[in-house]
Structure formats: C-alpha cells, structure tokens
Amino acid sequence: MSKYSFRYEKTGLAKYISHLDFVRAINRALRRAHIPVKYSQGFNPHSLLSFGMPLPVGYTSVCEIFEAELERDMDENLIMEKLNSTLPDGIRILEVSKVCPDIKKIRYAKYIIKPEFMPGKDFVKSFLENDTIVIDKKTKSGIKEKDIKKDIKEINLCGTFIEMVLSASNTANLKPDVVAAAFKKYGFDLGFCQYERVMFFDENLNKI
C-alpha cells in the first residue's frame, strides 16, 4: 500500500485557518501538485487523507502530521518538492516518509507558550501542587467544572516562554489556553499569549 506520512508546519497568518478549511486547502494543493491521492469508492468519493489532532485556530505548529494514500509509489522528495511549490504562505511540508509515525498513537503534545507576562517559578510549583485543578468548561448544557490536573504532564519555565506537555488524544485533550485560563483563576494572568505546538508523543512519551 502506498501510504505516506506528511509532517508539516503551519506558521504566520496561516494559523487562523480552521481545521476543516485547512483540510480543504491540503486537498486542493495535492490536486495542483498532481499527487495521485487515492479516492474512496461510492456516491461521494473523497480523498483518502487522515489528519492528526486538529490544531486550534490561532495556534502555530511545527509538528503537524497527515497521512495520505496514493494510487502508486512516488519518490518522497519529489512529493515534497511538488507540494511545497504550490502551497500558500505559512504552510510548508517538512518531511514526507513512507514509514508512518502512526497518528493514532498520539497521546501527548508539547506546546510553547509566549505570554505577555511570565509567571514565577513559585507560582507554577504551587499551581502544580494542587490536588485538583478545576476549571469552568463551557458545554452545550451550560458551564461545568472539570479537573484538568491529570492532563498536565509537565510545565517548564524557559526564559521568555513556557513549555507544556499536555494530553492530546480523542479521549483526553487539554489545550494550553485552557491551562492559561486556569493560571488566571489560580492567581496569575499571562495576558496575551502566542501558542505553538512543537512535538507529539505516544503514551510512553516517545516522540512521534
């Protein structure tokens, strides 16, 4: 089977493209690049692409992944070159490989947060020492309380930015802006933040 994995970055203003719009943009780019993506059978054929955890609107990333099934084998470098030549600003393929980092195995993601105001070490330490970290979550049936403690794997302060390793899967997904909101609730306002996803991990925290 000619299945390929594409690692890509989404930077600059491209971060405002929503996930669904982004999927459409990739499909069109593959068409322009004449990369023979396989289509499903049936009434409404669609291209056989699968994307990893959707990136929230407003986040940049340097580690996104999608997988595509092609009609036939192609040279990985050629695929990358053809695709990159027709991608709009802010979207760039970094690597194409036939060996798939299986996106189904993703459990955690690392984020870099550039806040307006850096918190102190003590604040973060005591924040993480809470038995529960409860946030208000908006759901269809109103506002519900949710404990996010178990979804926070790591929070590190690194000079002017914060590194966070958080749950990232279909069953448990925590976004760093939610953590930022929790910071605020627990006493420290980061102000305006920029978010970037930089790495995916499996359940054993091995890089994917």
Binding site: G12, L13, A14, Y16, I17, S18, L20, D21, F22, R24, A25, N27, R28, A29, L30, R31, R32, Y39, F43, N44, P45, V57, G58, T86, L87, P88, D89, G90, F192, Q194
Partner: protein, 610 residues
C-alpha cells in the same frame, strides 16, 4: 504595524482579515506608482464570491505600475476591535490603512450595501463626503450594476465608471498616473477623467427640482462633463482578458469554485429584470476559449468544482459542445460541474445526471409569476404546460425536491394573480402523485419562494409604483392562506427591506443626507438580519424631513428620472413600448427570434449582428 494577532485572536472567522491566500498578488508597495484598493462593501465570504472582483483584481495587477489590494466590510466584532484599538480599516494584502491608497474602487452589487460603504470610509478615517476630501486623500469611486443609478451615492463618490470595467479601469489608471506625475489638483484629475467615455463625476452636474419634488433639470456645470454618459461594454468578448488564476480562499465562501463566464447579457427581455437590459447586447465566448480558460484555472487553483456563469445558460449557442468537452475534462480530473440558470428539459436533466455525482439535490424553476396573464405581463415566456412538463421530467429522473421562484408586487398584478402561485405549487405536487409509483420516488417537496418585486432603473417597469409594505404583506398572506398541501413549503422575504431597496434603487441625490443620517444612527449590514433595523431608517427619513413614499410612487413618462442622463444603448422609447405591451399582457419575442429594436445595436456587436 499594529498588533494584528491580538485582535484576530478575539474575533470570529479571523481568516476574513488575514489575506495570504493562494494566488494572492504580492508586490512591493514601494515600487509601484499607484496603490489601488478594491473595496467590497460586505463580508469577505460574499465579496470573494464575486466574479467581477476576480477579473478586475487580476487585470489591475497585470499593470506593473499598480498594486491592487482588497478590503471588505468588517463584521460587527471586528469593527468593535478596530474602533477600540484605534486601528483604521486595512487592506488584506499589505495591511495598509485604506486612507493611504490612491484610489478606492467600490463595487455596487446591491443597494442594501450602501450603508456599509459609508461605514468602511468612516473606519478608514476618510471624509465621507466627496466635497470634504482634500489633496492627498484617496479618490473614492464606484462601479457595478447599481451604479446605473449613481445618484443616491452622489455626495460620497468622487466619480463613477459605468458599464463593464475591463477597459475603462485601465484608462482611468493611465490618466491617474500621468496626473500624479505632473502633480495636479484633485479637481484637475476629475476634469481629465470626465472626458473618458463612461466616467461620471457627480459634482460636475447640477440638479434643480420642481415644487412637487420631481427633477426640473439635470445639467453639467463643467465644460468636460458630458450631458449624456454612455455605458462601456466589451465589444469582443471572445478576446477579452480573463484571469488564469483565482485567489483560493481558505474560508468557505459562498461561491467557492471556478467560474466560467460563458456570455454577457440575456436575449430574453423579462420586463422586471435589470440585468437583462443593462448588459445588452448578448455577447458570447466560444467553447474553445472557455475550455482553455477552464484548463488553466483547474491547474492554478486545484478547485474541485467548476460552474458556468451567465444569466441563462441554456441560451448559450455553444452549450452542448461546451458541456460535452468540459465533461471529458471534469471526469478525468474528478471535478464537479454546477449548472445554474439552466432551463429544465431532457438535455439538461441528462447532463445533470452525468455531472452531479453527488446525490440529487433540488431542481429550481423560476416561473416568476403565478398566473399566465402575469407571466405575459413580465414577458417571462413560459407556460404552465412547460412548467409542469419540466417538473414531470425531473420527477421521472429521480428528483423529489423542486423549488419554484416567484415575485409578488409586480405592476398590473391582482390578488387573483397572486393566489395562482399557491395553485401552481399544488399542481406541481399533483404531477408527482399522478405519475405511476414505479416512475417516481416516494415523497415530494415543493418549495415556493416568493420575493417582493423592486422596480429598477432601465427596465420597462422603471415608472411603476412599488407596492407598499401593507400591500406586500396582504399578498404574502394571500399565498399562504391558499396553500393546503403539506408537501409545500413557503418562504417569503421581509417586505420592509424590499421597500427600502426600492427607495435607493430609484432614488435621487437628495437621499445622500438620509444615508448619512442612517449611518450616523448606526445603520450597517442592511442585507443581514443581524444588521437591518428599519427603525433607524425611518428615523433618518423623519429627521431629514423626507418621505420615502416619494421614491416608491409611480412616475410619468414625462418626468426626468434621476438616471436619465445615462445612455445604456437601449432607448427610453423601447422601455416605454415594453411597458405599454405589459399593460396589455403582450409578449415580445427574444433577440434571436426577432429583433425588438431596443437600441443595443448601437454598440456594434453581439447578438444584434449574428
């Protein structure tokens, strides 16, 4: 530059404001002579669907001396952020504030966007009134179908270009460049372009009024201003410029596909239809040209859908040839073809069967009026027999959903005529159930969509009285009362909006102060439920001491109409005779059956010389 990120992180649909889409034109603003901003007075997803913008954006950017960028009306949330953070409205490409451009070109697609134009100027810190603009301010001008009555915006526009924009835009830019190099005044520039055919400079004309409020005289006050301004057309459509690239938005826009313009104009001559008159004469492109355009656009955009665009695609003489050839391309490239404005007959249904690989959606028919008498009045040359036949063909072909479009409030219409809309809906349902079960599917949905007629300039109904809100309401209810079948769904439009549209469609330049007042009261996005507020408009009319029923009244043939100084080729005599024929429910054959001597032959091309 201001911190765009902070703002965009707080608004809905930030991709409306980012630019940077595929095929966006990038130039160094420092290396061009003219900075031009194409302004669409509605949100991004509406504006980006507009074919005229795609054409002009490309054509202007073909010039090395000019950089054409884009701007749209910011949605309520974005406006709030702009105001709060003291950021002027900016272009998508380089995020340049609009007041730093040389020229702002607005397209007037519908009257209910006028309040957005004022709002966009205000958000750009540009004086709203043309007379208040100083040396160094941008020139603000407009074109598009509503520019055929430019008067309601006369106070705000420095000038207009009338008719098709491909040539005149370049002529204006050539003059602009020369004027800028020579360092003239604003007034001198306007004097120079007033000499170009199709340019209208409102401040170069004086209007006097009679005691009853009608126009007494309309005359140039400047030696370069022409007494009659003639619209521009592209005589040779086959060889006209067409973009080989479209910007491909990320956002889901209204028409997110390749559009191929197969012809301009319409042979039909429906008497309510402004497009059918102002774009005359009909001019076509050859299937060969269109196929070549299609291939280039498929290659450059990656779009998965292509659409044929015209006022009545079935009237295209090369339709079969084009459809067959396009099908070869679309099938191999896995592209869908969409075919709006198609008459329903055997050929078109077969074609739709081939092109619509997706499940069968609904079929749309546009009888426009319920009774045969009214269809003759409006010169919609379709009989009930034709309509029911089309419906039958569609049902046999497996379609189960039919939309029927109608208008109410047409001239010479009675309540009996209106009730026929409901009856026709029932007859369509009956057609379905009289078919043997093996030859149709199980259930049927008929939608009756009824809009309110708005008399438009340069149509045979330009003199007609527009129905009042109450009359329209009565007619809407008359249809409703007579719908008995549960298979029929009924939609109708907000009649207040139609009346306001009618006021601006046939208004004069005295409406400028009403518009300004309504803008001050916060009117914007009038074509949106979120924006339209009739109270603001009623207050604006009241405060200006004006009565809007003046603009919806019937006009006499002798009256000077605000748009009379524009020459669209079609003569007033023709429009009058068509109105007289309408009174007697007499039809007029289409251009290809028999020339009706409308006057469009003066342009020396198209169907008039076939």
């Amino acid at each position: 530059m201001f911190d765009l990120d902070r703002i965009l992180s707080r608004v809905q649909k930030p991709a409306r404001y980012t630019g940077g889409e595929l095929n966006e034109v990038k130039k160094d603003p420092g290396k061009v002579k003219i900075r031009y901003c194409f302004c669409f007075p509605d949100v991004y997803e509406i504006g980006m669907s507009h074919l005229g913008m795609k054409i002009l954006y490309s054509i202007i950017n073909e010039r090395e001396d000019t950089y054409c960028e884009r701007a749209f009306a910011p949605w309520f949330d974005m406006e709030e952020e702009l105001v709060k953070n003291n950021i002027p409205l900016f272009s998508l490409e380089t995020k340049t504030p609009l007041n730093q451009f040389d020229l702002l070109g607005f397209t007037l697609q519908y009257e209910m966007s006028y309040s957005n134009i004022l709002n966009m100027l205000k958000l750009s810190n540009i004086p709203l009134l043309s007379k208040d603009r100083k040396e160094g301010d941008p020139f603000v001008y407009a074109g598009g179908p509503c520019a055929y009555n430019p008067e309601p915006l006369a106070d705000f526009m420095d000038f207009y270009t009338l008719g098709e924009g491909e040539e005149i835009t370049n002529e204006v830019l050539d003059v602009y460049k020369k004027w800028k190099e020579e360092g003239g005044t604003r007034h001198e520039f306007l004097c120079k372009i007033a000499r170009i055919e199709g340019v209208y400079v409102p401040s170069f004309y004086d209007v006097e009024y009679n005691d009853d409020g009608t126009i007494k005289s309309f005359a140039p006050n400047n030696e370069y201003a022409k007494p009659k301004v003639k619209k521009r057309i592209i005589k040779d459509l086959e060889n006209v410029y067409y973009p080989d690239k479209f910007i491909v938005p990320y956002m889901d826009i209204v028409h997110d596909r390749i559009m191929l313009e197969v012809f301009r104009g319409c042979i039909r001559g429906c008497r309510f239809c402004q497009a059918g008159m102002i774009y005359r004469p009909v001019r076509e492109k050859s299937p060969k040209r269109l196929l070549s355009d299609a291939k280039k656009l498929i290659e450059s955009t990656g779009y998965e859908e292509i659409s044929l665009s015209s006022l009545s695609t079935s009237d295209y003489t090369g339709f079969k040839e084009l459809a067959e050839k396009l099908l070869c391309v679309t099938e191999s490239e896995k592209i869908n073809m969409s075919l709006p404005s198609l008459r329903v007959d055997n050929f078109s249904l077969e074609l739709m069967d081939k092109v619509q690989k997706v499940r069968k959606s609904s079929i749309t028919l546009a009888p426009e009026a319920g009774s045969q008498r009214m269809r003759d009045v409006i010169n919609k040359q379709v009989t009930k027999k034709d309509l029911l036949k089309s419906a039958e063909l569609a049902f046999r072909g497996g379609w189960t959903s039919i939309k029927l479009y109608f208008m109410i409030g047409l001239p010479y219409e009675t309540l009996e005529d209106v009730v026929e809309i409901a009856n026709l809906g029932k007859e369509v349902v009956d057609v379905f159930y009289t078919l043997p079960k093996e030859e149709r599917k199980r259930g049927v949905n008929v939608t009756l969509s009824v809009s309110s007629f708005v008399p438009k300039p340069f149509t045979p109904f330009q003199w007609a009285r527009q129905n009042t809100i109450e009359e329209l309401h009565e007619k809407q209810m008359a249809v409703k009362k007579n719908i008995k079948s549960k298979h029929i769904k009924y939609n109708y439009h907000e009649s207040k909006l139609s009346v306001l549209e009618g006021v601006f469609a046939r208004g004069d330049r005295r409406l400028g102060k009403v518009l300004l007042k309504a803008h001050e009261l916060g009117a914007k996005f009038d074509s949106w439920n979120e924006g339209f507020d009739m109270e603001k408009w009623e207050k604006a009319f009241l405060e200006c001491g004006m009565d809007y029923s003046f603009y919806t009244r019937e006009r006499s043939y002798e009256e000077i109409l605000p748009w009379d100084f524009i020459d669209i080729g079609i003569t007033k005599k023709f429009l009058q005779s068509e109105n007289e024929r309408a009174k007697n429910a007499q039809t007029t054959p289409n251009c290809r059956v028999k020339c009706a001597s409308c006057g469009a032959a003066v342009f020396g091309g198209g169907v008039c010389f076939e």
